[in-house]
Amino acid sequence: MTFIERIKNIRHARFIALLSVIGPGFIAGNAGNDAGGIATYSIVGAREGYGLLWALVLITFALAVIQEMSARMGVVTGKGFGDLVREEFGVKVTFAVMALFVFANLTVTIAEFAGIAASMELFGLNKYISVPVSAFVVWLVVVKGNFRQVERFLIAISLVYLTYVFSGFMANPPWPDVARQIVTPHIRLDRDYFLLFITMVGTTITPYMQFYLQSAVVDKGVRIDEYRFAKFDVYAGSFMTVFIAFFIILATGTILHPAGVVVDSAEDAARALEPLAGNFASHLFALGLLNASFLAAFVLPLATAYGLSEAFGWESGINKTFRDAPQFLGFYTAFIVIGAGVILLPGAPLIRIMFLSQTINGILLPIVLIIMLKLVNNAAIMGEYVNSRRMNMITWVTVFILILLTVMLLVTSFIL
């Protein structure tokens, strides 16, 4: 074997190892671009054009930093976030966190099925068909599939997000202008602008992503010597998440913003694209929304079932059967049934539910972030893998800003 061949072999082995670890971070990140996320980015592009693109750089950074800590805790301790909260903070804190978590996730799950219903209606399919069928698929894949199959399925779905990249290119934006907007932050001091900014951060970094990521890393059994690959997975996932968001803003910002079209939802945006950019662009956009909602309809019930099972010590894992892990799969099922069921109820107050979910996630995120920082700096749990000084500075500043923004979002949403 020549030297070059050996190098190639080592590279090949590394690549296989990398591929085998990739998944949790990638899926968790992409699941952050859920129905609500797509809606927010569409609105951001339509209202502000490229004016908020600069914020995406910051969001990528914050997301990557936080997701990395989640993955690290999962790899080092072999325990989910729910496990650690219960063991280190006791019953009262666990109860409060889980109550908020379950309620927030339930409302978000309802939003995902609403996204499925709305996008399928753009293709002319009635929600009384699309919602039960997709709910059944979501249920069946996890209940019948093993971890590997489910993960591959979700990675495949995550790749469908690339339709938004296509949409972005089809819009044919003025690239030099776009580039300039990314690197030059300019803040407009008015309420609408500010609110959009906060909402955008809030929709991209949500507690269920951290819960899911850590639990999935544990369920997958990623070992400490594979951690550098897991880290890559997390960073790649965070990047892809914001990368997709970028193209959504690009598409609506290029086509809808100059035309002065005001949209209030993702399906609005898809509909508005049709006269301006054609049938194909509109359908691509609708497909993206369907896909985003579908992926999150998996991840939210999974994150909840993992979290609850961990907090109360029940057996959990995608590989398990109903017999082995009745509570885990029971909650998963219940979430899907309720999430899909509410959409089928005539006259369900969807707008109020969305508002509620945003508020509860806003309350939960600061709590989760502070708990996370306390855990990740606890040497009894993390050993040598506690945050370094530099990492702590970065994370505390990030967390501080995020908390500030969410508190502002909460305050403004109640005042307005």
């Binding site: 019953v91 009262k92 109360f312």
Partner: protein, 420 residues
């Protein structure tokens, strides 16, 4: 010696103020240190945190209960101390930890821990894994009880006796049980007495080892089925099978029914063929049905036998059967033709054939009759025993009144099985 009252849950004393003899607060109870004793770890010290952290040995504690914790040393004479790395701290190391079964499957978490008096020492006796424990941690136990009462339910204690937890070590990550998850469901000892009674398990086994086989069989008969099974489980197989042979088959079947199937089968194989067959047959029936309650030893005679012959036969058979008050008259296919009471047999003239004095027809019970139906029949006709027949009406055994007497009496006066 510290004075403590009955049972205490850790969450009830956690963060309670600890006082010195003058009534001054030393600090709050932060943790409880236990030794590694078997089977129930005893409390060796408490950790109190005020201005400093103190580790106060158990012998220096005066009162320890839900309301007051006090020590015998005055606060200013205490020296701050630190926790040794080998110590096991209940709150730090056990509370909220994952419980896994013998196969490593996750079950539940430790919601609370129960301390109780075991031979004069305060010991860790059980892990609370129920809703009640969770509510107690949240300070909602009383309200939970009231809420349950509204629906006419009891807020049950769900405890796993420490007996079923594998030996604990410092720095443990999870608690491992000695049983599988399927068995855990049946592991919730309702009352503390039973948990504690398990302490003396070893001594009990020793006592049974010293008894002769007949006495052991008789003594075993008087104990609760689960205790019977535990004792049999601890004995050598040969001795256990000898004792089982000497027990009435229905009692032996009850004991075997409480053992793991594999173990029960091993013991049956070691028993004398005849007894083994009887027991095997009984085991196949539901424990609470006529088939499960019945004994296969009874007096049966052909219809054309004379009273004189029957009395002679009776003398030979009587030691082996549970009741001699009824003689059943069976035909060649074991169909029950009639029954004769001992009184009528003795009063009849010696040369009379049995079929002339027998009472017909006989009330019989099918094998699958429920305990309730058995009790009803026996009480309605004032019987001492009733015959059990199979689907071909062939007689298979009898259920005696003492097998169902518990069911006939009001709950309060039911016979309390003795504990050793």
């Amino acid at each position: 010696m510290p004075f403590f009252a009955g049972e205490i849950f850790v969450s009830e004393v956690y963060k309670k103020p600890v006082l010195d003899p003058t009534g001054e607060e030393i600090g709050k109870l932060r943790d409880i240190i236990v030794g590694m004793g078997e089977p129930f770890p005893a409390v060796t010290a408490i950790v109190v945190t005020g201005e400093h952290t103190y580790v106060l040995p158990w012998d220096g504690i005066n009162l320890f209960n839900r309301r007051v914790i006090s020590v015998t040393t005055v606060a200013k004479n205490l020296n701050p101390s630190s926790i040794a790395s080998t110590d096991i701290l209940i709150c730090r190391d056990l509370l909220d930890k994952q419980i896994v079964d013998i196969n490593g499957a996750k079950l539940v978490r430790v919601n609370d821990l129960e301390l109780s008096d075991v031979k004069g020492r305060l010991c860790l006796v059980a892990a609370d894994i129920g809703l009640r424990g969770l509510l107690r941690r949240l300070g909602l136990e009383k309200r939970g009880e009231k809420l349950f009462a509204l629906f006419h339910r009891n807020l049950q204690h769900k405890l796993i006796a420490w007996h079923y937890v594998q030996t604990i070590e410092p720095k443990l990550n999870r608690l491992t049980l000695t049983v599988s998850r399927q068995k855990v469901a049946s592991l919730h000892p309702a009352d503390l007495a039973q948990i504690i009674s398990e302490v003396s398990q070893k001594e009990r086994t020793a006592i049974f080892g010293s008894l002769d086989v007949d006495t052991a069989a008789e003594a075993l008969h008087e104990l609760e089925p689960q205790v019977q099974a535990d004792i049999i489980d601890d004995m050598s197989k040969e001795r256990a099978s000898d004792i089982l042979e000497r027990m009435p088959p229905d009692e032996a079947a009850d004991v075997l029914g409480d053992l793991p199937e594999k173990k029960a089968q091993e013991l049956i194989n070691l028993m004398e063929k005849e007894e083994a067959e009887d027991v095997q047959e009984l085991l196949e029936h539901e424990e609470d049905s006529a088939g499960g309650l019945m004994t296969t030893e009874y007096l049966a005679f052909p219809p054309d036998m004379t009273v004189e012959e029957a009395v002679r036969e009776l003398r030979l058979e009587a030691p082996n059967v549970e009741t001699i008050y009824y003689l059943y008259i069976l035909d060649g296919q074991e169909h029950v033709l009639g029954v004769i009471s001992l009184k009528n047999l003795i009063l009849a003239s010696p040369q009379t054939r049995l079929e002339e004095i027998m009472t017909t027809p006989v009330k019989t019970l099918p094998l699958d009759a429920e305990r309730k139906d058995v009790a009803e029949l026996i009480s309605k006709y004032n019987l001492l025993a009733a015959p059990v027949v199979d689907e071909n009406l062939a007689m298979r055994g009898i259920v005696t009144v003492d097998d169902v007497v518990d069911f006939l009496l009001p709950p309060a006066s039911r016979k309390k099985r003795r504990k050793l």
